[in-house]
């Protein structure tokens, strides 16, 4: 028996039917991790604890929602007693004394955290090439990037090592790698999931979410990730629905917003074709396409690249070599301690964003950049608000194309930033959004983005699940179509 490419429901059934034990599952996961070492998808493994927990579950079977489900955790979540690096040299030796709320929620639902996945340094990147621990390889091709920043999480799910992983999404960091690796990933509404214990990149945009093989599995994981957390004042004190409840609702008469301002002409014909075919699939399910406009959408990327670096420049100030993490050796004085520690500890992309952020917040530039960007952000949000008076969800391609080659965009940060064109606006507006596989070009997967209204993850999951009921793009694996 194997759990490779199996859904959470299937694995739970295998466990309860005693077709496979929890320990056998963990052993399989670690065997697959070893066999897939070339993917470089994990930074730190949690083998001993995983076996311990599996043994415990074998002796004490439970019906918790995620009992015995192996989950890979993005190395951005603090895990008590388990090294947490955020993909950075500066936290190379950091062992947190506490766990993130998301981790606690998932683990108390019975999941087994098998290890910490590789990622772009401090979640800054769209290709996983900025990790101090080396880039992750996309299981779909030797030289392909998995996307970023949750590239390790996407790769381990795509390779069938685990059925699900946690990710975080500040500008597309769940959806873009989900698209490039052919899996399903959801960024919930900002505030749905507590940020306590998530190492902050851009606090007003960061949001954790599930990455899995299907919308249904995302719903199952999301149910456990969400909680109102008094330790995070931006955590929403809203009713948390059962996200599986509306999965099978008919799409008849439901409305899909198609963004007229989105210029698809720069995309490859094949990419556009994949996108349009999936829209056709939805109309044959009874949904209706409605034109909407998001007039300020084109301002998303510049707006994002002011706000996110500004917040990051401040959030990353605590990494100064004084209290935790890496400290440079033998500094002559305080300034040298700071300069050397941060010069050695941070990679180029992180430094670039700290510089941009410090610049846009500096006296004399604040109004022109940061304040203006916040105003535009409000306009973008207003655009979405008025669009959602007419439609249930909005659809766009998730990415401009399929996975690109490593190194192909490294020298031009602007090109890399444009990778986030379709995903960024949902973060700026705080809206939930998902990427799900909707096609394949040259045996490389591609994703469709579904953006939902504020707090309406259920509609996204409903559309995605109904689509996955009638298509099999989510069943495609690097090993071929799953039976």
């Amino acid at each position: 028996m194997t759990i490779k490419y199996k859904s959470i429901k299937e694995i739970k059934k295998m466990i309860s039917n005693k077709e496979i034990s929890n320990v056998e599952i963990v052993n399989e996961v670690f065997k697959n991790i070893t066999e897939n070492e070339h993917l470089n998808a994990f930074i730190t493994l949690n083998e001993e604890d995983s076996i311990k927990k599996a043994l415990y579950l074998d002796n004490n079977p439970s019906d918790l929602a995620l009992s015995g489900i192996p989950v890979a955790q993005k190395d951005l979540f603090c895990t008590k007693g388990l090294r947490t690096t955020c993909g950075s040299n500066i936290l190379n030796n950091f062992i947190p004394p506490y766990s993130a709320t998301v981790i606690e929620n998932l683990e108390s639902a019975g999941c087994i955290s098998v290890g910490k996945t590789n990622m772009d340094e401090f979640a800054m990147g769209s290709s996983n090439e900025t990790s101090f621990f080396g880039n992750v390889q996309n299981p779909w091709g030797e030289n392909l990037v998995p996307g970023g920043s949750s590239g390790g999480s996407a790769a381990v799910v795509a390779a069938g090592i685990v059925p699900a992983a946690s990710g975080t999404d500040t500008g597309g960091s769940i959806r873009q790698p989900a698209s490039l690796c052919g899996i399903t990933g959801l960024k919930p509404t900002y505030g749905r999931i507590s940020r306590w214990g998530m190492i902050a990149f851009a606090s007003s945009l960061d949001q954790a979410g599930p990455m899995a093989r299907s919308a249904e599995d995302c719903a199952i994981i999301l149910n456990e990730m969400c909680s109102h957390d008094e330790k995070d004042t931006t955590s929403l004190n809203e009713n948390i629905p059962n996200f599986q409840k509306h999965l099978n609702e008919s799409l008849k008469g439901k409305k899909i917003g198609i963004v007229k301002d989105l210029d698809l002409s720069s995309l490859d014909n094949e990419v556009v074709k994949v996108y349009e075919e999936s829209l056709n699939e939805f109309t044959s399910l009874g949904a209706e396409l409605v034109d909407i406009t998001l007039p300020n959408l084109s301002l998303s990327v510049p707006t994002y690249y002011v706000i996110a670096p500004a917040e990051c420049s401040s959030n990353l100030s605590r990494f100064d070599g004084v209290k935790f993490g890496r400290r440079s050796e033998n500094p002559k004085n305080l300034e040298e301690l700071y300069v050397q520690t941060r010069s050695e500890g941070f990679g180029d992309e992180v430094k670039r964003r700290i510089l941009i952020g410090s610049y846009v917040l500096s006296a004399g530039y604040y109004d022109a950049y940061y304040k203006k960007a916040q105003q535009v952000r409000r306009l973008i949000k207003n655009d979405f608000d008025s669009a959602f008076t007419k439609v249930d969800v909005i659809m766009t391609p998730t990415t401009r194309g399929t996975a690109f080659e490593m190194g192909s965009k490294g020298s031009d940060p602007i090109q890399m930033y444009l990778e986030d064109l379709f995903t960024i606006s949902a973060n700026l507006a705080g809206l939930p959004a998902m990427s799900l596989p909707n096609g394949n070009i040259d045996n490389k997967p591609l994703g469709l983005q579904i953006i939902g209204n504020f707090l309406d993850e259920s509609s996204i999951l409903n559309f995605a699940h109904m689509y996955q009921n009638v298509t099999n793009w989510h069943m495609h694996t690097p090993d071929g179509l799953r039976k």
Binding site: F77, C78, T84, C86, L91, F94, P96, P97, Y98, A100, R195, W196, G197, M198, I199, A200, A202, S203, S204, E230, K231, D232, T233, T234, A310, E311, S313, S314, L316, S317, R318, F319, D320, V322, K323, F324, G325, L334, Y338, S358, L361, S362, A363, Y366, Y370
Partner: protein, 475 residues
């Protein structure tokens, strides 16, 4: 040429909340280094601040007491700079929308009142402490203080002398202790201040370039530092040079200010709204609750003491000037029928003892109950005022009960007039020369006879009776 001084003060008041501004860490002073530090105070990766409402309530009490506007919605910003005792690399403060704006406070200078306007009072977190003298060639960091709530009170530049600055600081201290929002303990750093000083020619409307004097924590040093700085700036200007905008440090040992950093070297703090904290909204109900629990303030108390109890203005001023004095007065008065006598003793003998030891009344052995009883024993003639002084001194030493002291030392006043007359006759007989001189017109000698009787009775004679009897016998 004549010069005018323009001074503005930024006073940092440490609010007496149990826990810190953004964490559950304890604010207790004097604990072992780095023991009152939780995950948030340490600024660990992934932690988030949660605002302490109690700090808001205390800030609002201050705002109401200075007649200020209360922003029921206020926000937090980040002030970014690097320092080892600043764990996050930024301080969370209220830059754009402070909780309190536009108030004022009265000060008294040479018996004249002056109103000083207060621009704003905002909440912010304190930093930790860098310890430079404990480790050879290294600096230690103690984060116990990191995250402690501060109320920064910013005055308008309306203070015109070192003396006024001290009076203003004292007025603020009096107010915050009355409001029970700060312990006012200067030695423990519960109140510290930065002073902006500039000089301009008299009658010139434009302000001069200012220097900021950092982190001064005693009344004495405020006065000395400002006076030094005024002299320095006048010297600079009279030499035809100009004052540089800079931050200066006051060295209390050398009594001088030294340049710390100039405007060019000053940090660009890159303020921006703190994305981790939503605006804090104080409801109307919360505000009402705070208003209804506001204590009586010094000015009201002073008026009440004069009009209702009939104290002298000078007495009422002294007693209402500090919370501990006013508490002692009100509690002791409730134990006796003679509140005026309580006031006289409080302003007189008790204040003298306090001044001698330089302590506050709540730090002494004198309890309000015991003090009230002491006054009661004077007014019911159990003991004389003179005996009462020695009783007070004994209480001061060991806190013993008034009645026990009176009884164990046999201090009860002699009321028996026949006994006193016997003693008086004895004194008159054994001092014939003085009697002759007194009768010959040396009136002052009357005191001599009183003194002799008191001496004979070890001070226990009722002075009124002694006077009466001696007058009769010597006439």
């Amino acid at each position: 040429m004549s010069w005018e001084t323009v001074i503005g003060l930024e006073i940092h008041v440490q609010l007496s909340t149990k826990s810190k501004l953004f964490s559950g860490g304890s604010t207790e002073f004097g604990a072992e280094s780095n023991t009152h530090v939780d995950l948030i105070d340490m600024g660990l990766p992934g932690v988030l601040p949660v605002a302490n409402r109690e700090a808001f309530y205390k800030a609002i009490r201050f705002g109401l007491a200075i007649g200020a506007e209360i922003n029921q919605t206020s926000t937090f910003d980040r002030k970014n700079y690097f320092y080892p005792d600043l764990p996050k690399g930024y301080q969370i403060t209220q830059m754009t929308k402070p909780i309190v704006e536009k108030g004022s406070i009265k000060i008294v200078i040479d018996n004249e009142e002056k109103v000083i306007n207060i621009t704003r009072a905002h909440l912010e977190e304190d930093a930790g402490k860098s310890i430079h003298d404990l480790f050879e060639g290294e600096t230690g960091v103690d984060l116990n203080r990191a995250g402690t709530p501060l109320l920064e009170i910013v005055s308008e530049p309306e203070i015109s002398s070192a003396k006024e600055a001290v009076a203003y600081f004292k007025a603020i201290r009096q107010l915050v202790t009355f409001l029970d929002i700060c312990d006012g303990n200067m030695a423990e750093g519960s109140m510290r201040c930065d002073v902006n000083v500039s000089i301009k020619k008299t009658n010139e409307s434009e302000l001069g370039t200012r220097a900021e004097l950092k982190n001064i924590n005693s009344f004495k040093f405020i006065e000395k530092a400002i006076n030094y700085e005024i002299d320095r700036q006048i010297r600079v200007l009279e030499n035809g040079e100009s004052v540089v905008q800079e931050t200066r440090l006051y060295d209390s040992e050398k009594n001088e200010t030294r340049s710390m950093r100039s405007k060019e070297e000053a940090n660009d703090y890159r303020y921006f709204p703190c994305p981790d904290l939503l605006p804090v909204v104080i409801s109307d109900d919360e505000l009402k609750e705070i208003i209804s629990n506001l204590p009586e303030l010094p000015e009201e108390k002073e008026k009440k003491y004069i009009s209702e109890i009939g104290l002298e203005e000078s007495e009422a001023k002294i007693i209402s000037s500090s919370k501990t004095m006013a508490n002692m007065f009100e509690q002791a008065s409730s134990k006796t029928n003679d509140a005026k006598l309580v006031a006289r003793w409080l302003v007189g003998d008790v204040s003298a003892l306090l001044n001698k030891e330089n302590i506050e009344i709540d730090e002494s052995n004198l309890s309000a109950e015991n003090f009230g009883k002491l006054i009661e024993r004077i007014s019911d003639n159990t003991i004389s005022g003179k005996i009462a002084k020695s009783v007070l001194e004994e209480i001061w030493e060991n806190g013993s009960d008034v009645d026990e002291i009176i009884e164990s030392k046999g201090l009860v006043q002699i009321q028996d007039e026949s006994l006193l007359e016997e003693i008086a006759n004895k004194i008159i007989k054994s001092n014939p020369e003085q009697v002759l001189a007194y009768k010959g017109g040396k009136d002052k000698l009357f005191g001599f006879f009183v003194g002799q009787v008191m001496k004979e009775t070890q001070g226990k004679a009722n002075p009124k009776s002694v006077n009466k009897i001696l007058k009769k016998l010597l006439s």
